[in-house]
């Protein structure tokens, strides 16, 4: 099969894809998870990379550029996969990307297959399905320094002849062997459509005859073993460090204790250490908002920019430090290899509620934001397990709920000690709200696995990679990715929502002047739903807050500020707290807190759910279910509060 050409004058490739507007050869990086693929990608491209989503799915597409001797090559970092069975989203995307069947994306001109040399026998299982794609392929034996240090041996030239590919030894982290990879990229760009002289056709007729999977895979492994044997392969000795560390981290007593300590550390970091940074960002937003206000004349534009854009987008950007800190920790935990162990420790507890160990990372990430958490659940191989996981993910208390909680708690919960000087009523309330979210997630997962998602889950299976020092470079790259994605969200969805809301407070014009909040379109919407929310103790003003926060829950803080005519409203605003105390009963405030624990008011989550489940069924069900739970929960809380006095 001839790969499509994409040399600069190729019009065919240009027409096939928007990516092709650059006319540079496209090389895909493929490999199993944890083989060092991303470090490799970062080493080659530096900061010249961007993250986007594949059309139709939310699997992130990492695209970067490399210049080799003046020739530009585009590098595509595909998700890490173990096989090509197409059961997980990552696998489907990898297969489709290599086959060139993703709409709007051209087929790669060549492939760099990266495997971890210290686990060569199993990792090479991926080689055949990749080679069968018929693209020029370079096989990279990564982490070769560790392989050699542990007395592993292989003749890579013979291995290359056996498999029919070029083989390179690298250590991406140390930068070793990268020159030969660049040479391969250069070769690809000089001879697009170049076929390996050895021909990429391993024995096997899987495409034409359907054999039982076990025969196909057994034959595949036999060939891999044969090739390794021919190349004089000696497996490296076990890593003594990994053995020792697993003795501690998977110890019967110490293991779970360390696990708890790690989780607590992450929480401590997000909720305590992030605070000064968030205060700093908030101050910066206030300061710049002030400059903008000072520079513009009083009027519509100033109102839009300061009250709409600055306040709205600013209320979200404030969370950036928290999200960065969370991803910093998650990145380190993943890169060191600890995350796989944490999943092993969490597995049985997760199983009890119908989830599994792989759901641990998504659920932990959800404390910052449900959107990346739902994406992280892609590693859950079984579809029912994955659906159950992403369905309950938004119950975890994400950072967007914090300003709502902070405002209402500060306004309505007295600051008194409950258990000694360390645990006050306010802290206890916050803890209770977190616990309620977890309980809802657990209960919902339990119910789902007995109703809509009945059936056996997949068996939990986790590869435990050797422990390694995290590469600060790749952790920082990931932070860069995350902040960029987050800011883009703030800049699009939140921006749009706040501008629309601001617009709704400005119409209908009365004698050319903006209406009072009550008469504005937004106020009328609040009054429209007042009969529905009255049983919860809410009046039309709270209704406006709820309606305004349908797309993003944190927006309610700003809109309550608008409604009560408080300038510069934030969750720390005493003015707003006082105004609320006068207008909302304590019982209703508690009901409102409960409402926000359960309600799914986040357009981004719904959008991601739609893409990840390929349809509207699950996101609509999720939204309705969580809304019903929120309404019921708030009603019960309100009634109980009234009874308790």
């Amino acid at each position: 099969m001839t790969p499509p050409t994409s040399s600069p004058p190729s019009p065919g490739a240009a027409a096939a894809s928007p990516d092709a507007s650059t006319h540079h050869p496209l090389v895909a990086l493929v490999g199993p998870p944890n083989a060092g693929k991303t470090t490799f990608f970062n080493q080659l491209t530096g900061l010249r990379q961007k993250v986007a989503n594949y059309p139709g799915v939310t699997v992130e597409k990492h695209l970067g550029q490399v210049d080799v001797e003046g020739t530009r090559v585009e590098l595509l970092d595909l998700p890490g996969v173990n096989g090509f069975s197409g059961r997980s989203l990552d696998e489907r995307v990898t297969m489709d990307a290599l086959a060139g069947t993703i709409e709007g994306m051209r087929r790669p001109d060549a492939v760099v297959l990266i495997v971890d040399a210290t686990r060569l026998e199993t990792q090479l299982m991926l080689a055949e399905p990749v080679l069968e794609e018929g693209l020029p392929t370079l096989l990279v034996l990564n982490v070769i320094d560790e392989f050699e240090a542990r007395n592993g041996h292989i003749d890579d030239e013979v291995l290359g002849e056996e498999l029919g590919v070029e083989v390179v030894r690298t250590s991406a982290r140390a930068g070793r062997g990268l020159d030969r990879v660049r040479a391969f990229l250069l070769e690809t760009s000089r001879h697009p459509g170049w076929e390996s002289p050895l021909g990429n056709s391993p024995a096997g007729s899987e495409a034409t005859v359907t054999l039982p999977m076990i025969d196909v895979l057994s034959a595949r492994r036999r060939r891999i073993r044969g090739a390794l044997h021919g190349a004089g392969y000696t497996a490296p000795a076990m890593s003594g460090l990994t053995e020792k560390l697993d003795g501690i981290f998977l110890h019967r007593v110490a293991g779970p204790l360390i696990f708890l300590a790690v989780v607590l550390l992450v929480f401590q970091a997000i909720f305590t250490w992030a605070v000064p940074l968030m205060d700093g960002v908030e101050a910066l937003i206030g300061l710049t908002g002030g400059w903008v206000a000072g520079a513009l004349p009083q009027g519509l534009l100033r109102s839009l920019l300061v009250d709409g854009v600055w306040a709205g987008v600013g209320s979200v950007v404030v969370f950036l430090p928290q999200i960065l800190i969370l991803f910093f920790f998650l990145g380190i935990l993943e890169d060191t290899g600890y995350m796989a162990r944490a999943a092993v420790i969490a597995d049985r507890s997760m199983e009890r509620v119908g989830l599994q160990g792989r759901a641990f990372l998504p659920l932990l990430s959800a404390y910052a934001c449900a959107v990346p958490a739902i994406l992280a659940a892609r590693t859950v191989e079984n579809e029912r397990d994955r659906l159950a996981t992403i369905f309950v993910t938004p119950f975890m208390t994400c950072s967007a709920r914090l300003p709502v909680y902070a405002l209402l708690i500060a306004a309505f919960i007295p600051d008194r000690a409950v258990l000694g000087p360390f645990l006050g009523a306010r802290a206890l309330t916050l803890l209770g709200l977190y616990a309620l979210g977890i309980a809802a997630a657990v209960g919902t997962a339990f119910l789902l696995r007995r109703t809509f998602l009945k059936g056996k889950g997949s068996d939990f299976l986790m590869e435990l990679p050797p422990y390694r020092l995290p590469s600060m470079k790749s952790v920082l790259f990931r932070l860069w990715d995350r902040s960029w994605i987050f800011l883009k969200r703030a800049g699009t969805i939140i921006f749009t929502v706040t501008v629309v809301l601001w617009g709704l407070t400005q119409v209908p014009r009365i004698d050319g002047a903006p209406p009072t909040v009550r008469d504005s379109a937004l106020g009328q919407a609040g009054q429209l739903i007042e009969p529905v929310i009255a049983p919860l103790g809410f009046d039309w003003r709270v209704g406006v807050g709820i309606v305004s926060s349908l797309a993003a829950r944190e927006v309610i803080v700003g809109s309550l500020g608008t409604i009560y005519g408080v300038e510069d409203a934030g969750e720390d605003s005493f003015e707003l707290q006082e105004a609320l105390q006068g207008a909302v009963s304590t019982e209703a405030a508690v009901a409102l807190l409960i409402f926000y624990v359960f309600a799914l008011m986040c357009l981004s989550t719904t959008a991601v759910m739609k893409r990840e489940t390929a349809g509207w069924k699950w996101p609509i069900f999720q939204f309705a279910y969580m809304l019903a739970l929120a309404y019921g929960g708030a009603w019960v809380a309100y009634r109980l509060m009234l009874l308790g006095g």
């Binding site: 173990n82 096989g83 069975s85 059961r87 210290t118 686990r119 060569l120 026998e121 199993t122 990792q123 299982m125 039982p212 999977m213 076990i214 895979l217 057994s218 492994r221 497996a235 490296p236 076990m238 990994t242 053995e243 697993d246 003795g247 998977l250 110890h251 019967r252 007593v253 293991g255 779970p256 796989a340 092993v344 420790i345 597995d347 049985r348 191989e381 056996k456 997949s458 068996d459 939990f460 299976l461 986790m462 590869e463 435990l464 990679p465 050797p466």
Partner: protein, 91 residues
């Protein structure tokens, strides 16, 4: 569901199971008593008849951590009970 799906080999109830293998003893996989769908992710990770398996430790929840041809895998003990193994010749 075809829970009785035998992937390869002749079933014998008194076969040695991976779950019974003592720590640090290397065995060879002979048969997987699993439906293909369930066996697939194992197979893709190299768990196939003929592979060498060596239990390294037991996790806090009592599940095995096994070395499979140089790769460390954690799996549930229910799964380990479906993997029939034989002791390797001390060659």
């Amino acid at each position: 569901m075809r829970t009785d799906f035998i992937l390869t080999g002749t079933p014998m109830s008194d076969d040695l199971r991976l779950a019974q293998v003592p720590i640090r003893k290397t065995v060879e996989l002979v048969r997987m008593e699993l439906p293909e769908e369930q066996a697939r992710s194992l197979m893709e990770r190299g768990v196939l008849p003929g592979c060498r398996m060596c239990p390294l430790r037991v996790s806090p929840s009592g599940d095995p951590v096994v070395l499979v041809d140089g790769t460390v895998l954690a799996l549930r003990r229910e799964l380990a009970r479906c993997l029939c193994v034989k002791t390797t010749d001390p060659a």
